[in-house]
């Protein structure tokens, strides 16, 4: 047995950082305004919402499942937090929203973990259900925060020492989530269930309970994102979260977390989401119409997965 290190290995181990640096360099060179503090903070503020959700969904994905309900979850919870703010005040609104986020997660988790539904089906159904619930709840109308002096505006618009509050919240959330995933019993169990559910059961792990918990986390993360979103816009409307489920998934995939479960990390997700955010921003700065980002996102996800596959098998084609 002689150890050899190939270029394939190198790319696989450090590919994410290389790609991230390359993208930053390209964007910075093509759009001079990119590297301004104002612009970068703006991008980070934008990333915070997708990132917060993605942190939660990463748990679900590592446990070997999907959560596609987060897009309309974000919509519903944003509408909810704004409406409740007008009715019962900011503290109550936050509490109600976080509870509803957990409840959505619990419904998904119950279907997937205990009734053993395919997660794609269960959470797609939830995506659709929540779209309906949103319109039923708001009547389809836009809602706005009536009291513009509320402390609620901190989450989306505030800042501490010049760092935007949403970014701080994301960093805080990601740090806690990363710790839970990498250092705790629960995190270990999430990897085990995603890596091999049967073997985890044969090791005495209550796999359904773990899966259920990952959906709770995903629901909670979505609620946090909705609070940031509502606070940033100081309002909400019934299409506000559309497409977020795919952006979140794209970020997770780009980070290199395996959709098959058992492999991934929070920091990978953050880097993946940040890459998408900077690319989107760069494209806008370079003067492309906004829809070009969808094409580019697609191309980059495909390339990332391809490079990963190619590095694994040592050649470009199957």
């Amino acid at each position: 047995m002689i150890a050899t290190l190939t270029t394939g290995d190198f790319i696989r181990r450090n590919g994410l950082i290389i790609a991230f640096a390359a993208i930053l360099a390209i964007v910075a060179l093509s759009a001079p305004t990119f590297l301004t503090v104002g612009n970068l903070l703006g991008v980070l503020r934008q990333i915070a919402i997708v990132g917060t959700i993605a942190v939660g969904v990463t748990f679900v994905v590592i446990s070997g499942r999907l959560d596609l309900s987060v897009g309309s979850g974000l919509t519903f919870l944003s509408v909810l937090v704004v409406s409740q703010h007008n009715q019962i005040g900011p503290a109550g609104a936050l509490a109600v929203t976080l509870c509803c986020g957990l409840l959505i997660g619990a419904c998904n988790g119950f279907l997937v973990a205990y009734l053993r539904f395919d997660s794609l089906i269960a959470t797609l159904a939830m995506l659709s259900l929540l779209q309906g619930v949103t319109i039923w709840y708001s009547g389809g109308a836009n809602v706005n925060v009536a009291d513009s002096t509320t402390w609620f505006s901190f989450f989306g618009r505030g800042s501490v020492l010049g760092i935007p509050a949403p970014v701080l919240l994301l960093v805080l959330g990601a740090a806690v989530a990363g710790f839970v995933l990498m250092r705790t019993r629960f995190g270990r169990a999430v990897f085990a269930v995603g890596g091999n559910e049967t073997a985890s059961i044969f090791s005495g792990i209550a796999a359904p309970r773990i899966v259920f918990a990952t959906y709770l986390i995903s629901g909670l993360a979505t609620a946090c994102a909705a609070i940031i979103m509502g606070s940033r816009v100081m309002g909400a409307q019934s299409t506000i979260g559309q497409g977020y489920e795919l952006t979140v998934l794209a970020g997770i995939i780009l980070g290199g977390t395996s959709l098959l479960g058992g492999y991934g990390s929070i920091w990978r997700t953050i880097v993946g989401v940040a890459m998408l955010g900077f690319i989107e921003n760069g494209l806008i700065l370079m003067g492309f119409p906004y829809y070009v980002q969808w094409l580019v996102t697609w191309a980059i996800v495909i390339m990332a997965v391809w490079i990963d596959l190619a590095a694994k098998r040592g050649r470009l084609l199957a």
């Binding site: 050899t4 290995d9 250092r183 019993r185 270990r188 059961i201 044969f202 005495g204």
Partner: protein, 509 residues
């Protein structure tokens, strides 16, 4: 008699990231011979076989087929050249019919890509008849037993007029009757001048059916000998580089108190009226053929299956049937039959696999203590002689023997009281085998109760103090001391099968 060389490789090397799997290996297959390929797990047998079958391309050396140098790039190219691999983990599509599987990838059409089902089924039917198969071309493969699936693969080799057929541990999950049938088919292939590569760990099979034996060790050719000139001793020495005095070390000891007693345990359709007990320091063998319900009994005791009826006594007191968590906490542990599916999370490191059942023990306030995890890993890597590069090397990259040692370490690290080992040495090399057998004896001497489930008779006879035979979901014999003989076990297992074969068509199917 063996004829000319059909397929040969000369000086072939193959590297994987971090591992040199084959180093300058030469090997040849002649028409009408059975050529055994032996070696410990990790010796490079699978790699060599995959090079021959077009699944891997060698990094150096050349492959000669019928006298000309060839480059086999895909399994399809190998098949077109008449080289077929019968996989250990069978490579059939369970949702397709037998006929569709046999001709997979080259189905006859009526033009425009429309399948000619009639021709497909009649062609397949001819091949199946020639092999003496008792199932129809239209049967869905997923409904067949493993032995029959293997027949489908062999039929595929026949249909493509294979000149070289590679068998990878074909008897691993076969009953004795099925094995005899396989051997007669191999004899038949041989008579028709097919060259056969036969990979196996089982010495008796090597001596029964092969003409030559090639041994690999750590990716390096150790030599090729005529089977007639070889002995178990010489082959073993070639494989592990030293001679083994005995594969088994059975310790006699005075048994302690009863650890587990089961009364009238039953699960509909799987087993009925299971009653037995096992004491401290005792190795209880559970012998029976695959499908007899042995694993199901073990899984029920461990709590991954629920019993319909029965009572359980743990150290004298009655307890409800446990969940796996409760079983583990009692010290009732199961090293399951299938390492990769049930025993290990193959994407995780050895360290993480060892501590997986005891996350509570290796954590405080929910936070894992990595240092203690690494200590335990290091301890078992040394005591069980596990070959791995470090605590986080994925166990999926290890050989079967080393994987099995991790499964054992997983339970041993928290003082089990009863250890159930389901096929503890299936598909692993002789070296690891003897380590595990010695370990069983040592653990029993230290007072652990052990149940060894095995379909390898020498193993059961070698390690057990007492043997229960099982057939078709029920115990049908108990043997101790002088009565533990091969004949008695065979007799017990077959007696029940004959008397009830009509009643239970399912098991036969």
């Amino acid at each position: 008699m063996a004829g000319e060389t059909i397929l040969s490789i000369e000086g072939v090397s193959k590297n994987f990231p971090g591992v040199r799997a084959l180093k300058d290996v030469s090997f040849d297959v002649r028409a009408g011979e059975v050529h055994a390929l032996m070696g410990e797990n990790g010796a490079g047998k699978s790699t060599l076989m995959k090079v021959l079958a077009g699944l891997y391309r060698p990094d150096g050396g050349r492959i000669m087929h019928k006298g000309e140098e060839v480059d086999i790039r895909t399994p399809l190219e190998a098949r077109d050249r008449g080289i077929l691999l019968i996989h250990q983990e069978l490579s059939l599509s369970p949702e397709l019919s037998v006929a569709e599987n046999i001709f997979l990838g080259s189905w006859p059409t009526k033009g425009l890509g429309i399948l000619n089902k009639r021709k497909l089924n009649s062609d397949a039917g001819r091949v199946l008849d020639a092999l003496g198969c008792d199932f129809r071309p239209t049967t869905r493969v997923g409904t067949l037993s493993i032995a029959r699936k293997q027949m489908v693969e062999i039929a595929r080799a026949q249909a493509f007029n294979a000149s070289v057929v590679i068998f990878d541990e074909p008897t691993a999950s076969l009953t004795d009757t099925e094995k005899e049938k396989l051997f007669s088919i191999i004899a038949d292939l041989k008579a028709r001048n097919v060259g056969i590569v036969y990979i196996s760990h089982k010495m008796n099979e090597i001596f029964e059916i092969t003409d030559r034996v090639t041994v690999l060790r750590d990716g390096v050719l150790q030599g090729t000998v005529n089977t007639a000139d070889a002995t178990v001793e010489t082959l073993t020495r070639m494989m592990i580089g030293r001679a083994l005095d005995s594969f088994f070390t059975r310790a006699r000891s005075n048994f302690g108190a009863e650890v587990l007693r089961v009364e009238g345990m039953a699960k509909k359709g799987l087993f009925e009226n299971i009653s037995f007990s096992v004491r401290e320091g005792e190795v209880l063998g559970l012998y029976g053929l695959i499908g007899a319900g042995r694993s199901e009994v073990a899984e029920t005791l461990f709590g991954v299956r629920r019993a319909d009826a029965g009572r359980l006594f743990w150290k004298g007191g009655e307890i409800p049937f446990p969940t796996p968590r409760q079983a583990i906490d009692l010290g009732l542990c199961l090293a399951p039959e299938s390492r990769k599916e049930q025993g290990l999370v193959i994407g995780m490191g050895g360290r993480e696999n060892i501590t997986l059942p005891h996350l509570g023990l290796f954590s405080r306030l929910g936070i894992m203590n990595r240092e203690r995890e690494t200590q335990v890993f290091t301890r078992y890597r040394e005591t069980l002689e596990i070959k791995t590069t470090g605590p986080s090397q994925r166990v999926g990259n290890l050989s079967g023997g080393n994987q099995q040692k991790f499964v054992l370490a997983k339970w041993l690290c928290n003082k089990p009281r009863l250890l159930i080992l389901d096929e503890p040495t299936r598909g692993i090399d002789v070296g690891s085998k003897s380590v595990i057998h010695a370990l069983i004896a040592k653990l029993a001497e230290e007072g652990l109760a052990v149940i060894v489930i095995s379909s390898e008779m020498p193993e059961v006879l070698g390690v057990s103090h007492r043997i229960l035979t099982m057939s078709e979901g029920a115990f049908n014999g108990e043997f101790t001391g002088e009565a533990m003989t091969e004949e008695n076990l065979i007799d017990a297992v077959s007696r029940h099968r004959e008397s009830s074969s009509s009643r239970r068509a399912r098991t036969a199917a």
